[in-house]
């Protein structure tokens, strides 16, 4: 067995992957079901090995603003929380998007609204892909459905964040955060030196040198004409991301007569639903969006011409289903099935819903 195959929780995988990726700083505040991220980082003490800063802030608001500051210096910085804590961070996230800074945010979702429960949920889909904070901005949103992807998406999230100078978010849930699976750890990267950061991020506030103008990090622009220009630039960037960065996985879609659309832990449960349905002779497939924004609308539109119906399966009251409906534009019947507030559906419940809502209707 190779040395780097480990058995661990999704939350632990994020912490280990962050150290290995060469992250410069983590700023967080504990909340179930993601506290193992901060706990694992504290136990690993990376400040003694890679020099990575790990800090428990006084609040979620402080943590996201530490990320804002760190990101302004060109450092690879991240934060994590669960739903109520992510709500607290929204102002800072909007500022970071407005200042066009790269960073990584992790949300291990739990049942809401309000303080809600500590059990798994996917009810922060709207918050993540439709705004959350104020203003016309987008978050590059990655939805892991395994512990392996929890580890892999740390590096991918930072790569995309730096490629587009935009915050990226890993949108996971209590199942993926708490479950243990095999994971192959990504290779070690050295943290960048100050010289490398200055060369890579000429916009970073790293101390003004004589031969250039001051770098200013701000989301404020009081001249509306200039602010519109900024917004037009953001939108051009978002369009590029939509063209280049859509990711999804297909599971038994080729000959499918019916299609499930599900992300994260729901997609894992739906794999079992597909296995069980096929055993009964129902030609069922699963399309799993990996990026929730940019949303894989084109491929879903393609399948609208092939299948008789689609069921969007989510641990919420019907959020992603709106994007599925926009993608198919009325071409095929689209319904939603979900459980709420921290209750997780079983594969049987999903298959029954498919039969009642789509196949027999």
């Amino acid at each position: 067995m190779a040395e780097d195959i480990k058995l661990m929780k999704g939350n632990e995988a994020i912490a280990h992957a962050a150290i290995r990726y060469g992250v410069d700083g983590y700023f967080g505040y504990p909340i179930t079901p993601q506290s193992e991220i901060l706990e694992t980082l504290m136990a690993e003490m990376p400040w003694e090995t890679t020099g990575m800063v790990v800090l428990q802030a006084e609040s979620e608001v402080a943590a996201i603003n530490m990320v804002y500051g760190g990101a302004g210096t060109g450092k690879k910085v991240m934060t994590s929380s669960s739903s109520p804590g992510i709500s607290l961070k929204q102002e800072g996230i909007s500022y970071i998007a407005g200042a066009e800074l790269p960073c990584l945010i992790v949300n291990v979702m739990r049942g809401g609204p309000g303080l809600g429960t500590i059990q798994p949920s996917q009810a922060d889909y709207f918050q993540t892909v439709k705004g959350g904070g104020h203003g016309d901005y987008r978050l590059i949103t990655l939805a892991p459905s395994s512990v392996q992807e929890m580890a892999d998406f740390v590096g991918l999230g930072f790569d995309l964040a730096f490629k587009y100078s935009n915050p990226a978010i890993i949108l996971a849930d209590g199942i993926i955060g708490q479950m243990m699976e095999k994971v192959v750890m990504p290779p070690f990267h050295k943290r960048r030196t100050e010289e490398e950061i200055i060369a890579e991020c000429p916009w970073a506030v790293q101390g003004k040198t004589a031969n250039r103008k001051s770098n200013v990090i701000t989301s404020l622009e009081l001249d509306p004409a200039k602010m519109e220009e900024n917004n037009i630039r953001f939108q051009a960037k978002y369009k590029k991301i939509e063209e280049n960065e859509v990711r999804y996985e297909e599971f038994f879609c080729d000959d499918a007569e019916y299609l499930l659309i599900a992300f994260g832990s729901s997609a894992r449960i739906c794999q079992k639903v597909v296995e069980n349905a096929r055993a009964e002779g129902i030609k069922l497939g699963l399309l799993r969006p990996i990026t929730l924004w940019p949303f894989p609308a084109k491929i879903i539109a393609k399948y609208a011409g092939q299948v008789k119906g689609m069921l969007s399966v989510e641990l919420n009251a019907g959020q992603m289903v709106e994007d599925v409906r926009l993608a198919v534009n009325g071409k095929v019947k689209v319904e939603h099935f979900g459980r709420l507030g921290g209750i997780v559906f079983t594969p049987d419940e999903v298959l029954d819903a498919l039969k009642t809502l789509i196949i027999e209707n």
Binding site: M1, I5, L7, T32, P33, I118, Q119, G174, I175, Q178, M179, M180, E181, K182, S265, R268, I269, C270, Q271, K272, V273, E275, V344, F345, T346, P347, D348
Partner: protein, 180 residues
């Protein structure tokens, strides 16, 4: 081959750690494994359960409708999970604190009086390893040597001196399990 297992009992009985050791043992055998806890606010005395899957192939859902094997360690778990054992499956329970008899006739039922034996051994912490021993006697899904390797991996180094005690408890569990 695939084993879908639920272990359910009180918090503090070592339910989650027994599942962890089983998962690590599977890892040592090169199997695909998943370990999915119910992570409610369960302290000692609350209910706790964990789903463990060991498989030769990729594991789809960590959340299941029904189980090949249910390991039941208290009455609330018996009430909840007896009906969730697959036809032809296995139910193993500890007699202590269980006051209803198993009604299912389409499954194999085993009893392992681990709580009594752990009390006799004056070692309550051996409880979950006695249960694990019983399970491995009925379904030898992982080799004992790999369980010991799994113990080594899942226990912090300062507790490695406890491994021989755990091995004794596993072997004792293999002796005391009986078919109902």
């Amino acid at each position: 081959m695939k084993q879908e297992i639920i272990i359910a009992g009180f918090g503090g009985q070592g339910v989650l750690s027994m599942g962890k050791i089983l998962a690590y043992s599977g890892l040592m055998e090169g199997k695909e494994v998943s370990w999915m806890p119910s992570y409610g606010p369960e302290q000692r005395g609350g209910t706790a359960n964990v789903t463990v899957i060991l498989s030769d192939d990729r594991i789809s859902s960590p959340v299941l409708n029904e189980y090949d094997i249910a390991i039941i360690l208290n009455q609330p778990s018996m009430d909840k999970f007896e009906s969730k054992v697959k036809p032809g499956g296995i139910l193993i329970y500890d007699g202590y604190g269980i006051h209803t008899s198993v009604k299912r006739t389409d499954i194999s039922v085993y009893r392992v009086d681990a709580m009594d034996v752990a009390t006799e051994m004056k070692n309550e912490k051996a409880f979950n390893m006695l249960i694990l021993g019983g399970l491995l006697k009925i379904v030898p899904m992982v080799k004992l040597e790999n369980v010991l390797l799994g113990l080594k991996k899942s226990l912090p180094e300062r507790h490695h001196k406890l491994i021989p005690m755990n091995e004794t408890a596993i072997k004792k569990g293999m002796e005391i399990i009986k078919k109902i």
